[in-house]
């Protein structure tokens, strides 16, 4: 640890639900206040804000609050801020903040992701759905074939694993079963009921090999990660969690021209930037917007060989809370809610600080990996309690 490192000094989260009526700015405020209390910081000590993907004008449910809006609303005097979707996925906003504090551009940065998709869909007069006459950009290469959802795009990567490596639905089910088992112990999780293999196998198919339970669902929530400079930790009261390494990748922003999802380039890069090894990791919090993305991250990060992900999670014991690699202990997005990337970093910090309550993993966890993104974008953070 040295003063040039970046640290997570506080985490916070709003209520997590569907069709919430509390305004998205106030959900964000809830998460900010909890994170400030956690870190022992005041809003007047915040001098940076970072978010993903910025305010989504025209699709407000996806991202209703921008960084500049939060700065203005909370009276933050910022020396640095950023918010946008052109970054290596959701946790890229946290990585950007880490770079900013390491370079002295800010001391304490609020990183946030607010989602409001369930509420927005239930109030179309307030949040008009997108109405496009024509499709353009990369959407034009998929939507004309009714490949409208990322579920269809990701399913094709999953199907390749089914055909090439023999991944089975029973193996894939362990992502949802594990997430839902953990979610049942997380008071804030979106889905509180565990899932059985029978329920999984008999649920309706969405797009093969994905059934209903392989997909996260629209959620309303805000998650905040405060990133602080190493030389500002004397102002922080919580146990700081060091960002020991970070990596991201984008080859081309396309879900069909890239042979491999961007996580496969990100994982090896992460390990080049640290002396830690995959075997040192005490818990993994890996993106599961769709179940297969977690399998791909497990392979990418070197927890198993490429193609072995299905067999690695088979039976679920290895990735259970008391297994060798506890996975998505807050429920992941499938159980915990579609917090869109930030939930994974939040939970990594909770577990490293042993604040997980009923879902806390045993032992003395010191190293966690949190990863966001599927398809052409990916970010991985290695988080350490020194």
């Amino acid at each position: 640890m040295n003063t040039r490192d970046a640290f997570v000094s506080g985490v916070g989260q709003s209520e997590v639900g569907m069709r919430l009526t509390r305004a998205p700015l106030l959900l964000t405020l809830d998460a900010v206040k909890e994170a400030l209390d956690d870190a022992g910081l005041g809003i007047d000590q915040i001098d940076g804000v970072s978010t993903y993907p910025g305010k989504a004008h025209g699709y407000l449910g996806f991202s209703p609050i921008g960084a500049d809006e939060l700065i203005d609303a909370l009276g933050i005097r910022a020396t640095w801020y950023a918010g946008g979707g052109e970054i290596t996925s959701q946790l890229g906003a946290v990585a950007a903040a880490a770079m900013a504090v390491r370079l002295g551009q800010a001391r304490h940065v609020i990183c946030f992701r607010t989602v409001y998709e369930a509420a927005a869909m239930s109030r179309p007069e307030e949040f008009p759905p997108i109405r496009r006459e024509k499709v353009e950009g990369y959407t034009q290469w998929t939507a004309p074939f009714f490949a409208i959802s990322a579920a269809c795009w990701t399913a094709q990567y999953a199907m390749r694993h089914v055909k090439r490596y023999g991944m089975t639905r029973e193996q894939l089910a362990q992502i949802a079963l594990t997430g839902r088992a953990n979610a049942a112990l997380n008071p804030r999780a979106l889905v509180q009921k565990p899932l059985t293999m029978d329920e999984y196998m008999s649920s309706r198919m969405i797009t093969s090999p994905f059934c209903l339970h392989d997909c996260d669902r629209f959620t309303d929530a805000s998650t905040v990660i405060i990133v602080s400079a190493g030389d500002a930790l004397d102002e922080v009261k919580a146990t700081p969690i060091r960002i020991a390494a970070m990596a991201g990748a984008v080859d081309r922003l396309s879900w069909d021209q890239a042979e491999w999802m961007a996580c496969y380039a990100t994982g090896p890069e992460l390990w080049k930037r640290t002396d830690y090894k995959p075997k040192d990791v005490d818990t993994a919090q890996l993106y599961d917007g769709f179940s297969f993305q977690t399998v791909a991250w497990l392979e990418s990060l070197g927890f198993c060989e490429v193609g072995e992900g299905g067999r690695f999670i088979e039976g679920g014991t290895r990735i259970a809370r008391d297994g060798e690699l506890p996975l998505n202990t807050f429920g992941g997005q499938i159980g915990g809610g579609r917090l869109h990337g930030f939930g994974f970093a939040h939970e990594a910090v909770v577990q490293l600080r042993k604040q997980g309550g009923a879902r806390q993993i045993p032992g003395d966890p010191k190293l966690a990996v949190a990863a966001s993104g599927g398809g052409p974008l990916a970010t991985a953070l290695l988080l350490a309690r020194d």
Partner: protein
């Protein structure tokens, strides 16, 4: 009856791709300098940065790289199930098209299937769909 397919906004880069079917041609962007095809079509070759690029017809055959059988009706009246596939295009290494495999039962589609383009017209647009070569 399916809803209309989403309509691409035509521009200088993509027009040849979406309208080539009027002449029965699947047209991909091709570089005159390094002789490579690339996709999506752009005004510069991603392999050698040459601007000497122009649409060029390919044979129109390919191989199913991967696929999914879609069961969810993402739009009202969308007829399910149907097959979405990623097809590797013959003669254009590295180019893949997301498309539908049509004119066969969904259970008949598998990876490595040989397929041929068949165009579905809707207004100005000729959607390149693929069917199995028997």
């Amino acid at each position: 009856m399916n809803p209309p397919r989403p309509i691409p906004r035509l521009d200088a880069e993509n027009r040849a791709f979406w309208t080539g079917g009027a002449e029965g041609e699947l047209r991909l962007m091709h570089c005159e300098d390094c002789k490579s095809f690339f996709h999506p079509p752009r005004l510069v070759c991603r392999n050698c940065l040459s601007e000497k690029v122009a649409p060029k017809a390919v044979e129109g055959t390919g191989v199913v790289d991967t696929f999914t059988v879609n069961y969810q009706a993402w739009m009202p009246n969308l007829e399910v199930p149907f097959v979405i596939a990623r097809v590797a295009i013959d003669g254009a290494p590295g180019v893949f098209l997301t498309t539908n495999i049509v004119n066969c039962p969904v259970d008949d589609v598998d990876v490595d299937d040989r397929v041929r383009v068949t165009f579905e017209q809707q207004g100005d647009i000729y959607y390149p769909l693929f069917e199995k070569i028997s």
